[in-house]
Amino acid sequence: MHVPDGFLDAPTSLATAGVAAVGVVSALVGAARRELDDRTAPLAGLVAAFVFATQMLNFPVGAGTSGHLLGGALAAVLVGPCTATLCLTVVLLAQALLFADGGLTAIGTNITLMGLVGVWVGWLTFRGVQALLPRRVGMVVPAAAVGAFLSVPVAALGFVALYAVGGQAPIPLDRLATAMVGWHLLIGVGEAVITALAVSSIVAVRPDLVHGARKVLQQRELVVREEVRA
């Protein structure tokens, strides 16, 4: 979903750059205060590298089109939403600067869509689903998959909204919205599958490192201690 230069006009690109800047600075503060410590920092580097690698793997979704992981929900569940925004920002900067993927004037747009909308829709959906399911570590994986699935069409809708404001071509917006959401619902299925695979493999070996499992693990720890005391 990397927006190239020229799709959106200059004022819109400037505005999304502002949104992205505020979002990234807030994420720096949030990640430092609440998410990163000696144990979890190494995982953040791995998540960034993994998201980059997986974004290279376009999978076919039919009719001559393809999709790839955005990775926002995946990163948020593993290392926390603020750190996830930072991971996606590093990935998007590297792609734009080194690999000519995603425009330079569109870097703010791409950080906003994938690093903020993708991450936070994925994370908040994950938390919402987690609250509905039994409080078990095993429930982290399905909750992450739902968050991942929803994050893709919502990010696509975000692009449609930006295009409505500052698109460079006079095109029917309803057609744009239908096509974007339709294809990205399909891509969302791939996002959910890859996210479930990645999250379940970390949950299987080190659930204590998974940010999205922290609450569940802490509660279980308390229960065990009370039993010991009794």
Binding site: H2, P4, D5, G6, F7, L28, A31, A32, R33, L36, D37, D38, T40, A41, P42, L43, G45, L46, A48, A49, F50, V51, F52, A53, T54, M56, L57, N58, F59, P60, V61, G64, T65, S66, G67, H68, L86, V90, A94, A96, L97, L98, F99, A100, D101, G103, L104, F159, Q168, L176, A179, M180, W183, H184, I202, V205, R206, D208, L209, L217
Partner: protein, 107 residues
């Protein structure tokens, strides 16, 4: 279950990322992604401009001067994983709270 050390987890994870970007990426679909496909169908793909960093040695996920497509793309992928992993990991390491994590503090 036997617990895996963080170091081991990160090393194995990085190897997986290197294999995905360096080898598996060759088999990725070359069809346009959802956004580019829609842009073409709805009719605004042509408003996209040439990329300012098209001159980069790794532009378009291929390595300039390497003829073999498999090697060229694989090298670009490996460089990307290493750069992103180092920058991302370095940033996280600088930002981290020193000492024990929040869960250890309460013990």
């Amino acid at each position: 279950m036997r617990s895996v050390s963080t170091r081991r987890l990160v090393v194995v994870g990085l190897l997986v990322a290197l294999v995905l970007a360096g080898v598996v990426s060759y088999y990725a679909s070359s069809h346009p992604d959802g956004l580019n496909y829609v842009a073409e169908k709805v009719g605004f793909l042509s408003t996209g401009r040439r990329h300012a960093t098209d001159g980069s040695p790794f532009a378009g996920y291929s390595t300039r001067g390497v003829g073999n497509a498999r090697l060229s793309g694989g090298l670009a992928g490996v460089v990307g994983v290493l750069v992103v992993g180092l920058v991302g990991g370095g940033l996280a390491w600088l930002l981290r709270r020193r000492g024990h994590g929040p869960s250890e503090d309460r013990r």
